[in-house]
């Protein structure tokens, strides 16, 4: 059976270096949400101008 238990890190010396992936993931995800919000704003503005 595959385990799925996450444990918080208590000793910083054990920390694997995976922060680049984390930074890219957060930037891309928040960028997609911001771009979609902007696209909705622009589309509504255009349709109102018709």
């Amino acid at each position: 059976m595959r385990k799925s238990v996450m444990q918080p890190l208590r000793e910083t010396t054990l920390m694997p270096e995976t922060s680049a992936y984390f930074h890219v993931a957060y930037t891309v995800a928040l960028g997609i949400y911001a771009a979609y919000a902007l696209s909705l704003y622009v589309r509504r503005k255009r349709v109102r101008a018709k």
Binding site: P8, A29, L30, I32, K50
Partner: protein
């Protein structure tokens, strides 16, 4: 200037969630910082499933009572769902690479079925753009919207049914969550704030559909 409270609250909630996840939630012992992708990946998947489930419900009721508002709701929810599924499909591989050693595995049923789900609802949007008649467009897309949602329980259960690289559910399972309290609280806050973001997107997208239909009706009456 008129303030739209729902987008403002949703935006503030998402920013607050990211600050908590990044600065006030402990790193995971074996995965390090990459595990924090969990707090945006899982809520995006939850919202995508919710969005497509609501497409199916609105579409089913539309086929029954033929109310145009339900078609607009389904159309809006499908588009917002595609946005959240895109986030799932990008953040997942970025989490997988440092942990599994690969961005993508074509034999992993959950990955492939989530990609299929994305294709189905992208097709739904393309289909809507290709049909001129509003009633025909609403009917055809309602059927596709309902059929696509059948993938949702399959994706959730895929980790039980097949050998996949995805772990067993950590929170959405019959027994207690396998997550320390501080991580569980961040996840719960994240689920709530991204659901709020879904509501804000939906309200804006639905109003756009209303305004677009009203503009189209005006143009037809002028012609």
């Amino acid at each position: 200037m008129k303030i739209s409270w729902l987008p403002a609250i949703a935006g503030a909630a998402v920013v607050g969630t990211v600050i908590r996840a990044v600065f006030y939630t402990p790193l995971e012992a074996k995965q390090g910082a990459a595990q924090k992708i969990f707090y945006i990946h899982v809520p995006a998947a939850w919202v995508a499933f919710l969005a497509f489930f609501l497409v199916a419900v609105a579409s089913g009721v539309y086929l029954w009572i033929r109310d145009q508002r339900l078609d607009r709701f389904a159309e809006s929810s499908a588009e917002v769902g595609v946005v959240f599924t895109t986030v799932v499909l990008i953040t997942g591989p970025l989490w997988a690479k440092p942990i599994w050693g690969t961005y993508w595995a074509w034999w992993d049923v959950r990955l492939i079925s989530t990609l299929f789900l994305w294709f189905i609802y992208v097709s739904y949007i393309v289909l809507r753009g290709a049909i001129e008649s509003p009633s025909l467009r609403a009917r055809y897309s309602a059927v596709l919207g309902i059929l696509g949602a059948f993938l949702i329980p399959f994706i959730h259960l895929s980790v039980y049914l097949f050998a996949t690289m995805h772990p067993m559910p950590i929170v959405g399972k019959p027994s207690a969550p396998s997550l320390p309290n501080e991580m569980l609280l961040t996840l719960m806050i994240s689920l709530a704030s991204f659901t709020l973001l879904y509501a804000a997107f939906m309200r804006s997208r639905y109003r756009y559909a209303e305004e677009r239909d009203a503009a189209t009706a005006r143009n037809h009456s002028d012609a």
